[in-house]
Symmetry: C2
Subunit: 416 residues, 2 copies
């Protein structure tokens, strides 16, 4: 077995590594009780209610923040905020920590000025205000949003150290809004209306073509995330939600939907967001985010600190429906155990999984593998490369490997 | 029919009121399309990624905030932040807007100094650090938390104008933590251990007795809310979660759990959090929050702005399990329609409901009524008073009435 890490090649003996894992966790984690301290915060009144009309995290949690990669994009007005998934659990991403990608900076839209136009091949072109949308039949759904480029830097091998960077272009929220179908039906789609163009209202005017079948199926015009209004960087006041499909189709600050008879082949679906193959051709319209998973802890930014009892935590998802099963290996794929899926397991939503394990301090090679309800099995990165080459950038849903060292530190590696 | 409002008695004719509601929404909300403006935010680059490591709401949403009632408590260090439920949808409360009640201000706990002691009738007294808890088998669950005093000011009639004040002592989150059972079993409960005392680590040292059956059933020691660490005002770094039971038992900044053979009858379960009856006796240990619901929009802080198509949105919950059905009336109880429940419907979790309706501009008397999976039907306030009198303060789960006036303004009233 060869392990390829960021610092070159490592030689690992699976026999030695396999020994690092004991049976399921049974031991204790606590120490015998003596006295406990009466801390300062028990002796004095804390701050009162007035000062916190909108609450923020503890100052001890300032390391839990979105991060960006300076060299990744030309400017910071066209960049990516990565979610610190190594610090989170559950399936809900807190609104302040959500992944976002913007192409022309964050538009600061005045909601009273917001308008959405429906035009093109419709019986009756219409304009909606925000209030108009909020009066229409309302839909609530939990969905994940993943950027097509998530893990894209890994096509040519283990590059970045930490799942915030390798897998943090993702979030999962409860969205509230209106079914796109409800809005389109009010305008009346003409018989030759087979596609829509969704256009953003920011300085980049990002636009994407979407087939009418998807538009009328489960797309939403969302105005709230986790209960409250969308955040500015998520498209306040209204964004498109395209469940299970790549994030850049979820047009933010959406201002216009045109109905047409064929796709538009905009910049963001030709020169960008197409997957360049080895033979120089590009895959077109690779919309669906296939089944994928990642272990968020332990991981490079969440090392193992203790021998003995530990919890492995991770995320799995599929753009095709529900996650059916997640398998985890601690020895680079020799042995797999089935992870426990935390309820609720919802369609096109993140699913949280856990495995309890004991660590004896020897190295581990940790991977997770997602199987979705269609029976699709998350592939290895080598399996993906055999089909798509290494130029793709997008849609890398290969199995991720973390190398846990004897020190408990974790690094991003590949094994083959 | 008599309507009692904050401004005295109103006379209402049901016949006139009933006419205010037309059939289910079918009409449109939009206007015919002309041109739409190219706004300033389309012409200039917005702010880039660096400035927002932890995101905040749009400046246009500053009215969506927790509020408090100055006269309600003696000091602001012993007060209540109400959730602005009239501005929210879905079932997830954003972390920054969550209801909280503190009795000695907000403790600012250093997580490296955090300790949890288990003592009393156990085989082996133990002390856990935060890391110890995070290494134990992990649980994720969505639960509502409701203060026993929620709607308490309504026992003597319609008092406060707005559901933020009448029903805002509630939130709903996905909690991550350890089953209390796992921790207690590690210490080993002695045969005569029948109760636990949970003690807070803030300046008030709030403590409550909980029967061992509940402690071993579904209680959690939670360290995360909606994925991230607990907020300081929610008990950072660890709080107790007591699903379906009154909020003040969910001990924050929890520092000690003692196992005993009988309840402790602490201050917070004797002079407070008992329900004073008309005959001078008090109901003891009224833990479970019974089925309840409220229409959050329209409501006094969310008036009707338009005739024609509208959406009614509301929340329902039960401490005994799942919400089975919610009925809504627009004419003070003459006619009821079944509301649509937004999935997922989870046990001891908020459930969101909606009704689409058309408004012709005449007055309405809106109520909602929750039925839970045990068959329990949310009572009227008069039914509650007939049994419990008007001194109770706590556990007012009576049906709420909103009076929508011809202007679209809404006020808190009672009908009998």
């Amino acid at each position: 077995m060869t392990i390829t890490g960021r610092r070159g090649f490592l030689k690992g003996s699976l026999a030695a590594m396999g020994g690092g894992l004991a049976a399921a966790a049974t031991g204790g984690t606590a120490r015998a009780a003596g006295d406990i301290k009466v801390n300062e915060w028990m002796k004095t009144l804390g701050e009162g209610v007035v000062s916190r009309p909108y609450g923020l995290p503890s100052e001890y949690e300032s390391h839990v923040r979105r991060r960006w990669v300076e060299w990744l994009t030309a400017t910071r007005e066209s960049s990516v905020s990565f979610t610190p998934i190594q610090d989170l659990d559950g399936i809900v991403t807190p609104n302040g920590l959500c992944f976002e990608r913007h192409h022309g900076g964050i538009a600061e839209v005045d909601p009273s000025e917001y308008r959405l136009m429906i035009n093109g091949l419709v019986e009756k072109p219409l304009i909606f205000t925000l209030d108009d949308l909020k009066r229409m039949p309302r839909v609530n759904r939990f969905y994940f949003l993943e950027c097509a480029a998530n893990s894209g830097m890994e096509w040519r091998g283990a590059q970045l150290n930490g799942c915030q960077y390798t897998h943090g272009m993702i979030h999962c929220l409860q969205y509230t809004g209106v079914a796109l179908k409800t809005v389109l039906e009010q305008a009346g789609i003409r018989p030759n209306g087979k596609w829509i163009l969704a256009e953003g209202g920011d300085a980049s005017g990002l636009d994407r073509s979407i087939p009418i079948e998807k538009a009328l199926d489960d797309c939403m015009l969302a105005f709230a995330m986790n209960g409250e209004a969308l955040r500015p960087e998520q498209g306040y006041p209204v964004r498109l939600v395209v469940p299970g499909w790549e994030g850049n189709m979820w047009i933010k600050w959406i201002r216009r939907i045109e109905v047409g008879d064929e796709p538009w082949h905009t910049r963001e679906e030709t020169s960008k967001y197409t997957d360049l193959m080895e033979d120089g051709r590009s895959r077109r319209f690779t919309w669906i985010m296939d089944a994928k998973s990642v272990v968020t802890s332990p991981s490079p930014q969440a090392p193992l600190k203790y021998k003995g009892v530990n919890v492995l935590s991770g995320l799995a998802w599929s753009g095709r429906g529900k996650v059916k099963r997640v398998d985890v290996t601690f020895d680079g794929g020799r042995n797999w155990v089935e992870a426990e899926l935390a309820p609720p397991v919802l369609s096109r939503c993140l699913t949280r999984f856990h495995v309890n394990f004991e660590w004896d301090g020897r190295p581990l090679l940790i991977q997770s593998r997602c199987i979705d309800e269609t029976g699709y099995i998350q592939p290895t990165k080598d399996e993906l490369r055999a089909v798509r080459g290494t130029n793709s950038i997008y849609h890398n849903n290969g199995i991720q490997t973390w190398h846990v060292m004897a020190s408990g530190e974790v690094e991003n590696v590949e094994i083959s």
